[in-house]
Amino acid sequence: MEEKLTLFKNRKRFGIEKNIDIIFKNTALVLSSFVAIILLGIILVVFSQSFESFSRYGLKFLVTSEWNPVKDEYGAFTAIYGTLVTSFLSLLITIPLGVGTAIFITEDFVPKVFREIIGSFVELLAAIPSVVLGLWAIFVMEPFFRAFFVFLHNFFGWIPLFSTEPTGRNSLLAILILVVMLLPIVTSIARDSLNQVPKKLRNAAYGIGASRWKTIFSVILPAALSGIMAGVLLALGRAMGETMAVTMIIGNSNAFSWSLLSPGYTISSMLANQFGEADGSQVSSLFYAAFVLMILSLVVNIFAQWLVKKFSLKY
């Protein structure tokens, strides 16, 4: 009798457990689909809010640079140009520095302990909030580079890029602070992909008499190239979307200028600056600009992922 009772109890518990199991699985399923919901939600919300501006200006918004809340005329060319120029030029400086540093810490120039310390120090720097970097840029970097900018203007003023008199904050400073932010990303990803190149390849190259740098240039770097490229693209996406440090140092001016020594604008700094006080169709135009920024960074990110998928596991 008693035995039957416990059996009965066990069976009952088993039924509840089965239900809990199903509920648990479905909860996890729902929670995981939140990612997709949020992502689609972001795209939908930003696009629908920008619709008014989109239907009014169409693609003209991308190529005109008047931004005038008084006359209610909006065009984001200056900001889009600023976003592209600052992110590409900062990458141009970061790539050689970052890859060079990564090679330095994957080769055996200095004892392993030092290399590991340098490596983890660089990674730690990625954790410093960008608003703090902006603060540092305003109070330390800007005064430090002022004389150098005057020199650039005096001697290379005939190049359109340096054609304006430097006055305080400008695009070039934004590029330099972006370099500081991107270096940790590029360096640590390049280091990881260099480390993943099998030792066999290196030994084979040494074995047929290649020198150290011949090996690096013809064997190690090509083998690690896809990983490095993906890291560079991730850094590019980060540079495009970077807001605080750039907003604080770029000078925030919508007047278009080819010169890097004049104040500029990026899409994200425009959003940070104007979103709080905007109303009417300015809000819609800001959403349009945000939509452009999102498309740019989505394209870069998806391309980076495609690259990783396509070229990884080759060795």
Partner: protein, 297 residues
């Protein structure tokens, strides 16, 4: 003749020397400013630290010589990151459990993993814009516009991909034998996950989550038009529905003020923010290295 000996003048050896010094120069150019930056922030900010800083409200910018303290911003950062964690951790861990334990690599899970990576790359200011459109401008939260709650939601969007990824990867490292053993003695799937796989992956997940929280604590862009800023003490639960200050936004606002007193407050706030973020990072790194050494049984 003596081709067996190292010859300095050989072009390949000169080239090697050249490139080696080039990479050393790269490393120096990359690392020296970074060292300078960290020490500068720590010294300049550290010299502004006073006990009153932690207890006073900031004074509104002006010619006032005394800038006050950062108490509301400090508490605000703690509250906003807590809200973000309360939202992002359950959702992220649950999603990670699904990806690692239940999904069979089909189209849905591949799409979610792809989405996680894409969401991780979405610019942080876009998260702010999204929450602004969804919550602030619609006043959906009981009629309040800018609020600490909205700020926390914006941050949770940024934390979510990190939490899912670390959970997914942490669970995948748990050996399958543990799962077989648990299921083999008759445990159901959820018991296995809650009692066996999650606990054995706990440390790696916790490390990743803590790093994610530390990163979110320093984010500014999503907060500047969701939580906005406030000069006043946070006194009660109701303050969640009003503008809330945070260290990051305080740094942004006060760095752009023309007054020296406010700038100093910004440096002090940076010191606290950087010091706490760096120490969390270093601590979790040491912990991770330690577990890796002890785990190889």
């Amino acid at each position: 003749m003596n081709s067996l000996y190292y010859q300095k003048r050989l072009s390949r050896n000169i080239g090697d020397k050249f490139f080696t010094s080039l990479s050393v120069i790269c490393a120096l150019i990359a690392i020296l400013p970074l060292i300078f930056l960290v020490t500068y922030i720590l010294i300049k900010g550290g010299s502004q630290i006073t006990p009153e800083l932690f207890t006073l409200e900031p004074n509104p910018p002006g010619d006032d010589l005394d800038a006050g303290g950062i108490n509301p911003a400090l508490i605000g950062t703690l509250i906003i990151t807590t809200i973000a964690s309360i939202i992002a951790i359950p959702v992220g861990v649950g999603g990670g459990i699904y990806l690692a334990e239940y999904s069979k690599g089909g189209a849905f899970s591949r799409f979610i993993r792809f989405g996680v990576n894409v969401l991780a790359g979405v610019p942080s200011i876009i998260a702010g814009v999204f929450i602004y459109a969804l919550i602030v401008s619609t006043k959906i939260l009981f009629g309040s516009m800018y609020s600490g709650l909205a700020g926390g939601m914006a941050l949770s969007i940024l934390m979510l991909p990190t939490v899912i990824k670390t959970t997914d990867e942490g669970l995948k490292l748990v050996p399958n034998e543990l799962r077989y053993a648990s299921l083999g003695v008759g445990a159901s799937m959820y018991t296995t996950i809650l009692k066996v796989t999650l606990p054995s992956a706990f440390r790696s997940i916790a490390t990743g989550v803590v790093l994610g929280i530390a990163r979110a604590a320093g984010e500014t862009a999503p907060l500047i038009f969701t939580a906005l800023f406030s000069y006043y003490y946070i006194t009660g639960f109701g303050d969640l529905f009003y503008e809330m200050g945070s260290l990051a936004v305080l740094i942004y606002n006060f760095a752009l003020e023309p007054y020296d007193a406010q700038n100093k407050l910004a440096w002090a706030a940076s010191f606290i923010l950087v010091l706490s973020i760096l120490s969390v990072n270093i601590f979790s790194r040491i912990l991770a290295a330690f577990t890796e050494k002890t785990k190889r049984v």
